[in-house]
Each structure stands twice: as structure tokens, then as C-alpha cells.
Assembly symmetry: C2
Homo-oligomer: 242 residues x 2
């Protein structure tokens, strides 16, 4: 009897519980895929100044929000019913934090969508030659990080998560360069100030997508290693998870 | 025997568990008080352009981060050991989300502190007459919201939480006004663009403090009523919790 209990808690032979855990992880990935495409679309709406694409981005917001609420509800049901411990509990805690980050990524995408609408309402046209190409590059970096971390989450791959942490400062550098460029642009032609401020916020939104990807990576490490590497200097993280 | 178990689960006679819950709530309030004073100090550093005060703000960041990590660790220990359900579980989930929000508020304060340092390094002096008084007003609104929601959390007071939700758009309006003012300021004197962009980010940071206060308020409602009012239009919230 004692053996059986030990077995159960170790490998939770409860296949029902296993399937609940894998269902909830799957929904996190679904939500992740959704916000990833939302960010890509939002930046596409900006670079092409397309109102239709911006509207499509905003329409996805409800689905993202609904997923957050549903997954959170499933989480508390599972915790109350299954009383998980150790790695199972860590996975559920990480899922709870992950969906918070994913929802915020969706918020950033929606913010960019609304910015495109505002720019169009203000009569900004492609002739204004806003420096959107740099924003597209910054967003490529952020989306690449997001994709990598979702993949790391799916496979609970610590090495891939560490790589995401290592590459975070690339986006920060890109953001700093963009700020300098936008400031020069505004000084050369003060009539562009209002539109440029909008781009400043877009650049910031994309940088935050990168920050959220970093938070997700820390979650993967927490699940697998049980180590909380938040607020830890980049150089120290690798040695903490060895 | 059955009675005793029912009693235990209802009122968790386990006074040890009660005391754990109240300890962890107390630590959330401690963390809340810390970030509240951090935001106030950061804005004070900005309005007085004081490098010393900015440094003090940044020094508190470590303490805030450490509290987040400690409370999160205590949370998973309690969940694993006590296997809470119903309102107890909701409280612990709300605590987990609350400390995430509080940590982000600390981040925003630190961001403002670093902005002050950058402005001072760039040789900005009080003679530049940056429109910091408006920022001080915006931050008063945000700090008031934060104080109110911490109080609502301490007393698990749904009415106070609802009031925080109702007043959130005041900060948003203040932020919009500030943006218009800063844009005018930059257009009138393009030499102020670089410093003004810094203030744009400060205004945004303060607005986000207000957003986090709103998230905290939603958490209080969730604990007491079991209702998830996130992503719900302001008008619909009051009827949902009745």
C-alpha cells in the first residue's frame, strides 16, 4: 500500500491528472500562438498603415482575454481538486504567471493596433516616411524571442529558456537606437513630433513584448529546476541552474 | 468525526493555517507600503531634480524584488502543505497576482529614478522649466489609488475596490492631457525634445501604476466574491458583484 501511494505521488499514475496538466499546457501554447500572431499583425498594420489589419488585431483581443480568464479558472479547479505538490505545483504556478504575461503581450499588440488607427485618423500617410522599418526589425527580434520561449515551454527546455534570457539585451539595444533615431527625426522636423511620439510608444510596446518573453523563460526554468532566477544578473543565472 | 472535519474545512480551526494566511497578507501590505513610498520618492526626485533621492529609490528595488521572491516561495509552500480550497485558495491566488503587480509598480518607480539620473547627467537643470508639476499631480492620483486599494486589500473591502475601478479613468485623462502638453512644449522648443521624451515615459510609468492599482482591486473582488471581473466594462462590474 505504502509503495502504491509513493508511486502515485511520484509519477501520478492518475492519468486523468496528467491529461489535465497537458490540456492546460496546450491552452497556454494556444494563447501564446494567438498573441504571437497578434504582435506580428499589429506591426504589419503599422508598416503598411492598414486600418483593416489594425481592426483585425483589436478583434483578437477578446479571445485572448477570454483565454486568460478560462485558463485561470481551470487552474484553480485543478489546484483545489488535485492538491498538487512539487513539480506539478510549480508547473501550475508557472502557467498562472505565463498567461498573465501572454495577456500583457496581447495588450501591447492592441496598443499598437490603436496607434495605427490614431495615425490614420490624424491623416498620416506613407508619404510621411515614418521610420517604421526599424520598428519592424525590433519586432522581428521580439517575435523570435516569443516563439523560442513558447517552444521552450512546450518542451520544458531549460537550455532554450537560457538562450532567450541571454538574447534579451539585443532588443533593449535596438530600442535605445530607435529612441535616438526618433529624437533626431523630431528635431529635424518638429511637425512630425506628434506621430513620432506614437512610434516611441510602439517601440516601447515591442520592447515590453521582449520583457514578457524573458519572464516566460524564467518560468520554464522555475518549473524544471525549482530555481527562481528572477531579478538575477544574467551572468549568475547559468550557474544557478547547473 | 465527520462534523469535526467539516468544521475544520469551514472555519479552518487550524489556527496555524489562519496565522500563515494573515502573515502572508501582512507581507503583501508591507511590500505595498514599500512601493507606494518608492513611487512618491521617485516623483519627488523628479520634481526637485535630486540625484540623492533618485539613488535612494533605486536602492529600494532590491528589497522589493526580494520580497516578491520570498512571498512567492511562502505561497507555494502553503499551497503544497495546506491544500487550500474555496476562499482560502482564492486569497492565495490573489496574493500571487498582487505581488506581481506590486513588483511592477516598484519597477516603474525605479524607471523614474533612472530617468532623473539621466536628466541630471544630460545637464538638465531646474531653469529648464520642465512641466513637472503636472506629473506630480498625475502621480498624486496614482498614489491615492494605490493607497486605497492596499487598504481595500487589508480589509477585503469590495466597495473600496469598486471605487478604485471607478476612478481609474481619471488618471488616463490626466495622462492624455499631459501628452498634449508635452507635445506642444516640444514643438515650441525642439531643444527640449530629448528631455521631454523622458517625461513622456515618466507620465506613462505613473499611468501604469494606476493600472496596477486597478488590477489589485480586481483581485480583492475575486477573493471576496469569487468573480473574475477582469476585462469587464466598468459599467458591468458593479452588477456582477452584487
Amino acid at each position: 500500500m505504502t509503495m502504491a501511494v509513493a508511486d502515485m505521488s511520484d509519477k501520478h499514475l492518475s492519468t486523468q491528472f496528467d491529461s489535465e496538466l497537458s490540456t492546460i499546457s496546450g491552452r497556454v501554447l494556444e494563447m501564446g500562438g494567438l498573441v504571437e500572431s497578434q504582435v506580428a499583425q499589429a506591426v504589419h498594420a503599422l508598416t503598411t498603415l492598414s486600418g483593416d489589419v489594425a481592426t483585425a488585431v483589436l478583434e483578437q483581443e477578446q479571445r485572448v482575454n477570454a483565454l486568460e480568464v478560462e485558463i485561470d479558472r481551470d487552474l484553480s479547479t485543478i489546484i483545489a481538486r488535485r492538491q498538487p505538490t512539487a513539480r506539478d505545483l510549480r508547473l501550475l504556478i508557472a502557467v498562472s504567471k505565463a498567461i498573465g504575461n501572454l495577456e500583457r503581450i496581447g495588450d501591447e499588440a492592441a496598443r499598437i493596433g490603436r496607434t495605427v488607427q490614431r495615425l490614420l485618423n490624424a491623416g498620416v500617410s506613407s508619404r510621411m516616411r515614418l521610420p517604421v522599418a526599424d520598428l519592424a526589425f525590433e519586432s522581428e527580434l521580439a517575435i523570435r524571442q516569443l516563439r523560442k520561449v513558447l517552444d521552450a515551454f512546450a518542451r520544458l527546455d531549460v537550455e532554450a529558456a537560457l538562450e532567450v534570457l541571454r538574447q534579451d539585451d539585443q532588443i533593449d539595444r535596438e530600442f535605445d537606437g530607435l529612441m535616438r533615431k526618433l529624437i533626431t527625426y523630431m528635431m529635424e522636423d518638429p511637425r512630425t513630433i506628434s506621430a513620432s511620439i506614437d512610434l516611441v510608444f510602439v517601440a516601447k510596446a515591442i520592447e515590453r513584448v521582449g520583457d514578457h518573453a524573458k519572464n516566460l523563460a524564467e518560468g520554464v526554468i522555475y518549473v524544471v529546476k525549482g530555481t527562481d532566477v528572477r531579478h538575477t544578473a544574467q551572468e549568475a543565472v547559468a550557474s544557478m541552474v547547473r
